[in-house]
Protein backbone atom coordinates (compact mmCIF):
# COMPACT_ATOMS: atom_id res chain seq x y z
CA UNK A 1 0.00 0.00 0.00
CA UNK A 2 2.86 2.38 0.83
CA UNK A 3 4.32 1.98 -2.66
CA UNK A 4 0.94 2.43 -4.29
CA UNK A 5 0.31 5.61 -2.30
CA UNK A 6 3.73 6.95 -3.32
CA UNK A 7 2.95 6.12 -6.94
CA UNK A 8 -0.40 7.94 -6.72
CA UNK A 9 1.33 10.94 -5.19
CA UNK A 10 3.93 11.08 -7.98
CA UNK A 11 1.16 10.72 -10.57
CA UNK A 12 -0.66 13.77 -9.25
CA UNK A 13 2.30 15.81 -8.02
CA UNK A 14 3.47 17.31 -11.33
CA UNK A 15 0.02 18.68 -12.17
CA UNK A 16 -0.73 19.52 -8.54
CA UNK A 17 2.43 21.63 -8.34
CA UNK A 18 1.19 23.92 -11.13
CA UNK A 19 -2.30 24.00 -9.62
CA UNK A 20 -0.75 24.73 -6.21
CA UNK A 21 1.08 27.80 -7.54
CA UNK A 22 -1.99 28.99 -9.42
CA UNK A 23 -4.15 28.64 -6.30
CA UNK A 24 -1.54 30.50 -4.20
CA UNK A 25 -1.54 33.47 -6.56
CA UNK A 26 -5.33 33.41 -6.80
CA UNK A 27 -5.55 33.05 -3.01
CA UNK A 28 -3.48 36.20 -2.46
CA UNK A 29 -5.77 38.10 -4.85
CA UNK A 30 -8.93 36.73 -3.16
CA UNK A 31 -7.62 37.68 0.28
CA UNK A 32 -6.63 41.17 -0.91
CA UNK A 33 -10.01 42.12 -2.39
CA UNK A 34 -13.30 42.05 -0.50
CA UNK A 35 -15.63 39.95 -2.63
CA UNK A 36 -18.01 37.32 -1.28
CA UNK A 37 -18.68 35.58 -4.64
CA UNK A 38 -14.97 35.45 -5.38
CA UNK A 39 -14.26 33.89 -1.98
CA UNK A 40 -17.04 31.30 -2.41
CA UNK A 41 -15.80 30.51 -5.93
CA UNK A 42 -12.24 30.14 -4.66
CA UNK A 43 -13.25 27.80 -1.84
CA UNK A 44 -15.25 25.55 -4.20
CA UNK A 45 -12.55 25.63 -6.88
CA UNK A 46 -9.94 24.64 -4.34
CA UNK A 47 -11.88 21.65 -2.97
CA UNK A 48 -13.14 20.35 -6.30
CA UNK A 49 -9.99 21.34 -8.24
CA UNK A 50 -7.54 19.28 -6.19
CA UNK A 51 -9.85 16.25 -6.44
CA UNK A 52 -10.21 16.57 -10.20
CA UNK A 53 -6.46 16.99 -10.44
CA UNK A 54 -5.99 13.74 -8.54
CA UNK A 55 -8.36 11.95 -10.93
CA UNK A 56 -6.41 13.13 -13.98
CA UNK A 57 -3.29 11.60 -12.42
CA UNK A 58 -4.81 8.12 -12.70
CA UNK A 59 -5.48 8.66 -16.37
CA UNK A 60 -1.78 9.42 -16.92
CA UNK A 61 -0.84 6.01 -15.57
CA UNK A 62 -2.71 4.26 -18.34
CA UNK A 63 -0.82 6.04 -21.11
CA UNK A 64 1.91 3.45 -20.46
CA UNK A 65 1.56 -0.25 -19.60
CA UNK A 66 1.85 0.63 -15.91
CA UNK A 67 -1.81 -0.13 -15.28
CA UNK A 68 -1.22 -3.68 -16.52
CA UNK A 69 2.22 -3.96 -14.94
CA UNK A 70 0.80 -3.09 -11.51
CA UNK A 71 -1.28 -6.28 -11.64
CA UNK A 72 1.93 -8.31 -11.77
CA UNK A 73 3.22 -6.69 -8.59
CA UNK A 74 2.63 -8.28 -5.18
CA UNK A 75 -0.47 -6.19 -4.50
CA UNK A 76 -4.11 -7.18 -4.70
CA UNK A 77 -6.53 -5.45 -7.04
CA UNK A 78 -8.49 -4.32 -3.99
CA UNK A 79 -5.39 -2.57 -2.64
CA UNK A 80 -4.89 -0.68 -5.92
CA UNK A 81 -8.45 0.68 -5.79
CA UNK A 82 -8.20 1.39 -2.07
CA UNK A 83 -5.05 3.43 -2.67
CA UNK A 84 -6.91 5.57 -5.24
CA UNK A 85 -9.81 6.21 -2.89
CA UNK A 86 -7.50 7.13 -0.01
CA UNK A 87 -5.45 9.41 -2.28
CA UNK A 88 -8.65 11.07 -3.42
CA UNK A 89 -9.65 11.83 0.16
CA UNK A 90 -6.18 13.15 0.95
CA UNK A 91 -6.23 15.55 -2.01
CA UNK A 92 -9.71 16.68 -0.98
CA UNK A 93 -8.25 17.40 2.45
CA UNK A 94 -5.49 19.47 0.82
CA UNK A 95 -8.11 21.45 -1.13
CA UNK A 96 -10.21 21.94 2.00
CA UNK A 97 -7.17 23.17 3.93
CA UNK A 98 -6.36 25.61 1.14
CA UNK A 99 -9.91 26.97 1.17
CA UNK A 100 -9.83 27.13 4.96
CA UNK A 101 -6.59 29.11 5.04
CA UNK A 102 -7.78 31.68 2.47
CA UNK A 103 -11.20 32.15 4.15
CA UNK A 104 -9.50 32.50 7.55
CA UNK A 105 -7.07 35.10 6.23
CA UNK A 106 -9.88 37.03 4.56
CA UNK A 107 -11.89 36.91 7.80
CA UNK A 108 -8.88 38.04 9.84
CA UNK A 109 -8.16 40.99 7.53
CA UNK A 110 -11.65 42.14 6.55
CA UNK A 111 -14.04 40.58 9.07
CA UNK A 112 -16.65 37.87 8.35
CA UNK A 113 -16.85 37.62 4.56
CA UNK A 114 -20.37 36.13 4.53
CA UNK A 115 -23.85 37.33 5.44
CA UNK A 116 -23.93 34.82 8.29
CA UNK A 117 -20.86 33.06 9.62
CA UNK A 118 -22.76 29.75 9.49
CA UNK A 119 -22.72 29.99 5.66
CA UNK A 120 -19.10 28.86 5.78
CA UNK A 121 -20.31 25.41 6.81
CA UNK A 122 -22.55 25.23 3.73
CA UNK A 123 -19.69 26.19 1.42
CA UNK A 124 -17.40 23.52 2.79
CA UNK A 125 -20.20 20.95 2.73
CA UNK A 126 -20.99 21.82 -0.89
CA UNK A 127 -17.34 21.61 -1.97
CA UNK A 128 -16.78 18.27 -0.26
CA UNK A 129 -20.10 16.94 -1.61
CA UNK A 130 -19.31 17.82 -5.25
CA UNK A 131 -15.82 16.42 -4.90
CA UNK A 132 -16.98 13.12 -3.37
CA UNK A 133 -19.80 12.63 -5.87
CA UNK A 134 -17.41 13.30 -8.76
CA UNK A 135 -14.87 10.75 -7.50
CA UNK A 136 -17.57 8.23 -6.62
CA UNK A 137 -18.95 8.32 -10.16
CA UNK A 138 -15.67 8.56 -11.99
CA UNK A 139 -13.95 5.41 -10.67
CA UNK A 140 -16.59 2.82 -11.65
CA UNK A 141 -17.11 4.55 -15.01
CA UNK A 142 -13.36 4.59 -15.66
CA UNK A 143 -12.95 0.85 -15.12
CA UNK A 144 -16.22 -0.02 -16.81
CA UNK A 145 -15.77 2.06 -19.96
CA UNK A 146 -12.02 2.00 -20.37
CA UNK A 147 -9.26 4.48 -19.87
CA UNK A 148 -9.49 5.93 -23.38
CA UNK A 149 -12.84 7.51 -22.46
CA UNK A 150 -11.57 8.92 -19.16
CA UNK A 151 -11.85 12.57 -20.25
CA UNK A 152 -15.53 12.33 -21.04
CA UNK A 153 -16.14 10.29 -17.88
CA UNK A 154 -14.49 13.00 -15.84
CA UNK A 155 -16.73 15.67 -17.36
CA UNK A 156 -19.83 13.50 -16.84
CA UNK A 157 -18.82 12.77 -13.23
CA UNK A 158 -18.17 16.42 -12.45
CA UNK A 159 -21.47 17.55 -13.96
CA UNK A 160 -23.33 14.78 -12.14
CA UNK A 161 -21.54 15.73 -8.92
CA UNK A 162 -22.64 19.35 -9.25
CA UNK A 163 -26.14 18.23 -10.29
CA UNK A 164 -26.47 15.84 -7.34
CA UNK A 165 -25.41 18.54 -4.86
CA UNK A 166 -27.79 21.06 -6.39
CA UNK A 167 -30.56 18.48 -6.39
CA UNK A 168 -30.11 17.75 -2.68
CA UNK A 169 -30.06 21.47 -1.85
CA UNK A 170 -33.24 22.07 -3.90
CA UNK A 171 -35.08 19.23 -2.14
CA UNK A 172 -33.98 20.47 1.28
CA UNK A 173 -34.96 24.06 0.47
CA UNK A 174 -38.36 22.84 -0.66
CA UNK A 175 -39.15 20.85 2.48
CA UNK A 176 -37.32 22.76 5.23
CA UNK A 177 -38.02 26.34 6.38
CA UNK A 178 -35.15 28.84 6.07
CA UNK A 179 -32.97 29.19 9.17
CA UNK A 180 -29.78 28.19 10.87
CA UNK A 181 -31.06 24.67 11.56
CA UNK A 182 -31.82 24.17 7.88
CA UNK A 183 -28.31 25.27 6.95
CA UNK A 184 -26.78 22.83 9.42
CA UNK A 185 -29.12 19.99 8.45
CA UNK A 186 -28.50 20.74 4.77
CA UNK A 187 -24.73 20.64 5.30
CA UNK A 188 -25.00 17.38 7.23
CA UNK A 189 -27.20 15.79 4.55
CA UNK A 190 -24.81 16.88 1.79
CA UNK A 191 -21.82 15.44 3.65
CA UNK A 192 -23.54 12.20 4.61
CA UNK A 193 -25.01 11.56 1.16
CA UNK A 194 -21.73 12.21 -0.61
CA UNK A 195 -19.72 10.10 1.84
CA UNK A 196 -22.25 7.27 1.52
CA UNK A 197 -22.05 7.33 -2.27
CA UNK A 198 -18.24 7.54 -2.07
CA UNK A 199 -18.17 4.55 0.29
CA UNK A 200 -20.55 2.53 -1.92
CA UNK A 201 -18.51 3.37 -5.00
CA UNK A 202 -15.49 1.56 -3.56
CA UNK A 203 -16.89 -2.03 -3.57
CA UNK A 204 -18.55 -1.33 -6.91
CA UNK A 205 -15.23 -0.20 -8.45
CA UNK A 206 -13.41 -3.19 -6.93
CA UNK A 207 -16.04 -5.53 -8.42
CA UNK A 208 -15.65 -4.02 -11.89
CA UNK A 209 -11.85 -3.89 -11.70
CA UNK A 210 -11.61 -7.55 -10.66
CA UNK A 211 -13.34 -8.60 -13.87
CA UNK A 212 -11.24 -6.45 -16.19
CA UNK A 213 -8.64 -7.98 -18.49
CA UNK A 214 -5.44 -6.09 -19.29
Amino acid sequence: MKGLMKNNFFAVYANAKAFFIFMCILGIFVVAVISQPLLIGYALLSMVGFSVNAITGIKREYVSKWGKYKLTLPVQRTAIIKSYFISQLLWLLVGTLYAGIVISLSWALHGCPFDKSIDIVSIFALGICVSNFTSALFFPLFYLGGEEKSDVFLIISLLCGIGAAMGIISVLNFYLPPGITTILVGAAVLLLCSLLVFALSYPLTVGIYRKRDY
Binding site: R60, P74, D213
Partner: protein, 288 residues
Protein backbone atom coordinates in the same frame (compact mmCIF):
# COMPACT_ATOMS: atom_id res chain seq x y z
CA UNK B 1 11.32 -33.03 -13.13
CA UNK B 2 10.02 -30.10 -11.07
CA UNK B 3 8.45 -27.24 -12.92
CA UNK B 4 8.38 -23.62 -11.88
CA UNK B 5 5.56 -22.94 -14.34
CA UNK B 6 2.95 -25.32 -15.71
CA UNK B 7 0.12 -24.55 -18.11
CA UNK B 8 -2.54 -27.22 -18.55
CA UNK B 9 -5.22 -26.90 -21.24
CA UNK B 10 -5.50 -23.11 -21.08
CA UNK B 11 -8.43 -21.72 -23.05
CA UNK B 12 -9.36 -18.12 -23.62
CA UNK B 13 -11.79 -16.75 -26.19
CA UNK B 14 -12.10 -13.16 -27.35
CA UNK B 15 -15.49 -13.11 -29.08
CA UNK B 16 -15.00 -9.67 -30.67
CA UNK B 17 -11.83 -10.66 -32.51
CA UNK B 18 -12.67 -14.37 -32.88
CA UNK B 19 -9.32 -15.20 -31.32
CA UNK B 20 -9.13 -18.43 -29.35
CA UNK B 21 -6.32 -19.64 -27.17
CA UNK B 22 -6.93 -23.33 -27.60
CA UNK B 23 -6.00 -25.81 -24.86
CA UNK B 24 -2.46 -24.54 -24.49
CA UNK B 25 -0.19 -26.72 -22.38
CA UNK B 26 3.52 -26.44 -21.69
CA UNK B 27 5.81 -26.29 -18.72
CA UNK B 28 9.04 -24.63 -17.68
CA UNK B 29 11.48 -26.60 -15.50
CA UNK B 30 13.53 -24.98 -12.74
CA UNK B 31 16.87 -23.65 -13.92
CA UNK B 32 15.81 -23.37 -17.56
CA UNK B 33 15.02 -20.72 -20.16
CA UNK B 34 12.01 -21.33 -22.33
CA UNK B 35 11.71 -19.34 -25.54
CA UNK B 36 8.12 -18.62 -26.51
CA UNK B 37 7.81 -18.14 -30.25
CA UNK B 38 4.95 -17.30 -32.55
CA UNK B 39 3.94 -14.75 -35.16
CA UNK B 40 2.20 -11.48 -34.22
CA UNK B 41 -1.24 -12.25 -32.88
CA UNK B 42 -0.40 -15.91 -32.22
CA UNK B 43 -1.41 -15.53 -28.57
CA UNK B 44 1.90 -15.05 -26.76
CA UNK B 45 0.87 -11.96 -24.81
CA UNK B 46 -2.56 -13.48 -24.03
CA UNK B 47 -0.82 -16.58 -22.68
CA UNK B 48 1.44 -14.41 -20.52
CA UNK B 49 -1.67 -12.52 -19.39
CA UNK B 50 -3.28 -15.83 -18.34
CA UNK B 51 -0.12 -16.81 -16.45
CA UNK B 52 0.02 -13.49 -14.60
CA UNK B 53 -3.75 -13.17 -14.07
CA UNK B 54 -3.98 -9.92 -15.98
CA UNK B 55 -6.26 -11.83 -18.35
CA UNK B 56 -8.91 -14.16 -16.94
CA UNK B 57 -8.76 -17.59 -18.57
CA UNK B 58 -11.95 -19.43 -19.54
CA UNK B 59 -10.62 -22.80 -18.43
CA UNK B 60 -7.42 -24.66 -17.67
CA UNK B 61 -4.86 -24.55 -14.91
CA UNK B 62 -1.77 -22.38 -14.51
CA UNK B 63 0.56 -23.44 -11.74
CA UNK B 64 3.35 -21.18 -10.55
CA UNK B 65 5.75 -22.75 -8.07
CA UNK B 66 3.35 -25.70 -7.93
CA UNK B 67 0.34 -23.58 -6.98
CA UNK B 68 -2.50 -21.88 -8.81
CA UNK B 69 -2.06 -18.13 -8.35
CA UNK B 70 -5.07 -16.10 -7.22
CA UNK B 71 -5.24 -12.32 -6.82
CA UNK B 72 -4.61 -12.72 -3.09
CA UNK B 73 -1.38 -14.71 -3.62
CA UNK B 74 0.94 -11.75 -3.42
CA UNK B 75 3.70 -13.99 -2.02
CA UNK B 76 3.88 -15.77 -5.40
CA UNK B 77 4.10 -12.48 -7.27
CA UNK B 78 6.98 -11.47 -4.96
CA UNK B 79 8.97 -14.20 -6.72
CA UNK B 80 8.17 -13.08 -10.27
CA UNK B 81 9.81 -10.37 -12.33
CA UNK B 82 8.00 -9.11 -15.42
CA UNK B 83 9.06 -7.09 -18.43
CA UNK B 84 6.57 -6.06 -21.10
CA UNK B 85 7.33 -4.73 -24.52
CA UNK B 86 7.28 -0.91 -24.59
CA UNK B 87 6.58 1.50 -21.76
CA UNK B 88 6.34 -0.52 -18.57
CA UNK B 89 6.39 2.50 -16.28
CA UNK B 90 4.62 5.86 -16.35
CA UNK B 91 6.58 8.68 -17.95
CA UNK B 92 6.11 11.05 -15.02
CA UNK B 93 8.38 8.95 -12.78
CA UNK B 94 12.15 9.12 -12.58
CA UNK B 95 14.20 5.98 -11.93
CA UNK B 96 14.74 7.20 -8.38
CA UNK B 97 11.01 7.64 -7.80
CA UNK B 98 10.35 4.24 -9.37
CA UNK B 99 12.72 2.72 -6.85
CA UNK B 100 10.83 4.47 -4.03
CA UNK B 101 7.54 3.08 -5.34
CA UNK B 102 8.93 -0.45 -5.72
CA UNK B 103 10.50 -0.29 -2.28
CA UNK B 104 7.01 0.21 -0.86
CA UNK B 105 5.62 -2.73 -2.85
CA UNK B 106 8.25 -5.52 -2.83
CA UNK B 107 9.36 -6.91 0.52
CA UNK B 108 12.69 -7.92 -1.02
CA UNK B 109 13.36 -4.81 -3.08
CA UNK B 110 17.13 -4.30 -3.24
CA UNK B 111 17.82 -0.64 -3.86
CA UNK B 112 21.58 -1.25 -4.02
CA UNK B 113 21.15 -3.83 -6.75
CA UNK B 114 18.79 -1.52 -8.65
CA UNK B 115 21.36 1.29 -8.48
CA UNK B 116 24.02 -1.11 -9.72
CA UNK B 117 21.89 -2.05 -12.74
CA UNK B 118 21.19 1.64 -13.42
CA UNK B 119 24.93 2.27 -13.48
CA UNK B 120 25.68 -0.82 -15.57
CA UNK B 121 22.98 0.13 -18.08
CA UNK B 122 24.00 3.84 -18.04
CA UNK B 123 20.54 5.03 -17.05
CA UNK B 124 20.14 8.54 -15.59
CA UNK B 125 18.56 8.40 -12.14
CA UNK B 126 16.87 11.79 -12.07
CA UNK B 127 15.64 12.01 -15.65
CA UNK B 128 11.94 11.43 -16.21
CA UNK B 129 11.18 8.11 -17.90
CA UNK B 130 9.20 9.92 -20.62
CA UNK B 131 12.53 11.35 -21.81
CA UNK B 132 14.17 7.91 -22.04
CA UNK B 133 14.72 6.28 -25.41
CA UNK B 134 12.94 2.98 -26.11
CA UNK B 135 16.08 1.02 -25.39
CA UNK B 136 16.55 2.86 -22.10
CA UNK B 137 12.98 2.09 -20.97
CA UNK B 138 13.54 -1.59 -21.74
CA UNK B 139 16.79 -1.60 -19.76
CA UNK B 140 15.04 0.12 -16.85
CA UNK B 141 12.27 -2.49 -16.93
CA UNK B 142 14.83 -5.30 -16.89
CA UNK B 143 16.65 -3.64 -13.98
CA UNK B 144 13.38 -3.29 -12.04
CA UNK B 145 12.38 -6.89 -12.80
CA UNK B 146 15.67 -8.21 -11.41
CA UNK B 147 15.99 -5.96 -8.37
CA UNK B 148 13.63 -7.78 -6.03
CA UNK B 149 15.49 -11.10 -6.37
CA UNK B 150 12.80 -12.96 -8.33
CA UNK B 151 12.95 -16.68 -9.07
CA UNK B 152 10.99 -16.49 -12.29
CA UNK B 153 11.37 -13.89 -15.02
CA UNK B 154 8.55 -13.47 -17.51
CA UNK B 155 9.73 -11.40 -20.43
CA UNK B 156 7.43 -10.33 -23.23
CA UNK B 157 9.60 -9.04 -26.07
CA UNK B 158 12.07 -7.74 -23.49
CA UNK B 159 15.01 -7.48 -25.86
CA UNK B 160 13.21 -5.60 -28.62
CA UNK B 161 14.40 -2.04 -29.05
CA UNK B 162 17.88 -2.85 -27.82
CA UNK B 163 20.94 -2.57 -30.03
CA UNK B 164 22.89 -5.82 -30.65
CA UNK B 165 25.62 -4.94 -28.14
CA UNK B 166 23.17 -4.13 -25.37
CA UNK B 167 21.12 -7.19 -26.28
CA UNK B 168 24.18 -9.34 -25.89
CA UNK B 169 24.89 -7.82 -22.46
CA UNK B 170 21.27 -8.35 -21.37
CA UNK B 171 21.37 -11.97 -22.55
CA UNK B 172 24.46 -12.44 -20.41
CA UNK B 173 22.49 -11.06 -17.45
CA UNK B 174 19.74 -13.59 -18.16
CA UNK B 175 22.25 -16.44 -18.42
CA UNK B 176 23.78 -15.37 -15.13
CA UNK B 177 20.30 -15.30 -13.60
CA UNK B 178 19.63 -18.95 -14.47
CA UNK B 179 22.97 -20.07 -13.07
CA UNK B 180 20.96 -20.47 -9.89
CA UNK B 181 19.09 -23.73 -10.38
CA UNK B 182 15.99 -22.36 -8.66
CA UNK B 183 15.63 -19.62 -11.28
CA UNK B 184 13.88 -19.79 -14.65
CA UNK B 185 12.96 -17.50 -17.52
CA UNK B 186 10.00 -17.48 -19.88
CA UNK B 187 11.14 -15.37 -22.81
CA UNK B 188 8.70 -14.42 -25.53
CA UNK B 189 10.60 -12.95 -28.45
CA UNK B 190 10.53 -12.31 -32.15
CA UNK B 191 14.30 -12.11 -32.17
CA UNK B 192 14.91 -15.80 -32.61
CA UNK B 193 18.68 -15.37 -32.65
CA UNK B 194 18.39 -14.41 -28.96
CA UNK B 195 16.53 -17.62 -28.25
CA UNK B 196 19.10 -19.64 -30.16
CA UNK B 197 21.75 -18.14 -27.90
CA UNK B 198 20.16 -18.68 -24.51
CA UNK B 199 17.01 -20.82 -24.57
CA UNK B 200 16.96 -24.41 -23.31
CA UNK B 201 13.51 -25.10 -24.72
CA UNK B 202 11.47 -23.50 -27.47
CA UNK B 203 7.68 -23.49 -27.53
CA UNK B 204 6.03 -22.63 -30.83
CA UNK B 205 2.45 -21.38 -30.99
CA UNK B 206 0.38 -20.44 -33.99
CA UNK B 207 -3.19 -19.04 -34.06
CA UNK B 208 -3.62 -19.71 -30.37
CA UNK B 209 -2.59 -23.34 -30.65
CA UNK B 210 0.52 -25.02 -29.38
CA UNK B 211 2.51 -26.44 -32.26
CA UNK B 212 5.33 -27.99 -30.32
CA UNK B 213 7.77 -27.66 -27.47
CA UNK B 214 11.25 -28.85 -28.24
CA UNK B 215 14.59 -28.70 -26.46
CA UNK B 216 17.12 -26.46 -28.17
CA UNK B 217 19.65 -29.29 -28.24
CA UNK B 218 17.19 -31.41 -30.22
CA UNK B 219 16.63 -28.48 -32.49
CA UNK B 220 20.30 -27.86 -33.11
CA UNK B 221 21.51 -31.45 -33.29
CA UNK B 222 18.52 -33.37 -34.62
CA UNK B 223 16.01 -31.16 -36.41
CA UNK B 224 16.76 -30.50 -40.04
CA UNK B 225 15.21 -29.35 -43.26
CA UNK B 226 15.28 -31.57 -46.34
CA UNK B 227 15.37 -29.88 -49.74
CA UNK B 228 13.37 -32.23 -51.96
CA UNK B 229 12.27 -32.36 -55.55
CA UNK B 230 8.61 -33.25 -56.05
CA UNK B 231 9.39 -36.89 -56.86
CA UNK B 232 11.61 -37.18 -53.79
CA UNK B 233 8.91 -35.59 -51.64
CA UNK B 234 6.31 -38.09 -52.85
CA UNK B 235 8.63 -40.94 -51.87
CA UNK B 236 8.97 -39.75 -48.27
CA UNK B 237 7.42 -41.64 -45.40
CA UNK B 238 4.66 -39.31 -44.03
CA UNK B 239 5.68 -40.30 -40.49
CA UNK B 240 9.02 -38.52 -41.05
CA UNK B 241 7.43 -35.22 -42.04
CA UNK B 242 6.64 -32.60 -39.38
CA UNK B 243 5.75 -29.89 -41.89
CA UNK B 244 6.56 -29.01 -45.47
CA UNK B 245 6.50 -25.93 -47.64
CA UNK B 246 6.39 -25.81 -51.41
CA UNK B 247 8.87 -23.37 -52.93
CA UNK B 248 9.48 -22.48 -56.58
CA UNK B 249 11.83 -25.32 -57.44
CA UNK B 250 11.84 -27.48 -54.32
CA UNK B 251 9.87 -28.57 -51.32
CA UNK B 252 11.33 -27.86 -47.87
CA UNK B 253 10.51 -30.57 -45.39
CA UNK B 254 11.01 -30.24 -41.65
CA UNK B 255 12.15 -33.48 -40.04
CA UNK B 256 12.89 -34.31 -36.40
CA UNK B 257 15.92 -36.53 -37.12
CA UNK B 258 18.19 -35.04 -39.75
CA UNK B 259 20.88 -37.75 -39.66
CA UNK B 260 18.37 -40.57 -39.97
CA UNK B 261 16.68 -38.74 -42.81
CA UNK B 262 20.04 -38.34 -44.53
CA UNK B 263 20.66 -42.09 -44.23
CA UNK B 264 17.15 -43.00 -45.29
CA UNK B 265 16.82 -40.60 -48.22
CA UNK B 266 20.30 -40.52 -49.71
CA UNK B 267 19.52 -38.34 -52.73
CA UNK B 268 18.13 -35.39 -50.81
CA UNK B 269 19.99 -32.43 -49.35
CA UNK B 270 19.60 -32.15 -45.57
CA UNK B 271 20.44 -28.79 -43.96
CA UNK B 272 20.58 -27.54 -40.40
CA UNK B 273 17.54 -25.50 -39.53
CA UNK B 274 17.21 -22.20 -37.69
CA UNK B 275 14.34 -21.26 -35.37
CA UNK B 276 13.21 -18.72 -37.97
CA UNK B 277 13.02 -21.40 -40.64
CA UNK B 278 11.19 -23.79 -38.32
CA UNK B 279 8.68 -21.06 -37.51
CA UNK B 280 8.14 -20.35 -41.19
CA UNK B 281 7.67 -24.02 -41.98
CA UNK B 282 5.28 -24.54 -39.08
CA UNK B 283 3.27 -21.39 -39.72
CA UNK B 284 3.31 -21.09 -43.49
CA UNK B 285 3.86 -24.72 -44.32
CA UNK B 286 1.44 -27.63 -44.40
CA UNK B 287 1.11 -30.73 -42.27
CA UNK B 288 0.71 -34.26 -43.54
Amino acid sequence: MDHILELQQICKTFPKSNFVLDKLSFSLPYGAILGFVGENGAGKTTTIGCILNTVSKDSGVVKLFGKEMQDADTDIREKIGVVYDGDNFPGFLTAKQLSQVMEGIYKQWDNGLFQKYLEDFHLPVRQKIKNYSRGMTMKLAIAAALSHHPQLLILDEATSGLDPIMRDEILDVFLEFVQDESHSILLSSHITSDLEKIADYITFIHNGKLIMTVSKNDLVYHYAVMRCKKSQFLALDPADIIAYRKRDYQIDVLVAHGKEAQRKYKDTVVDHVSIDEIMLLLVKGERV
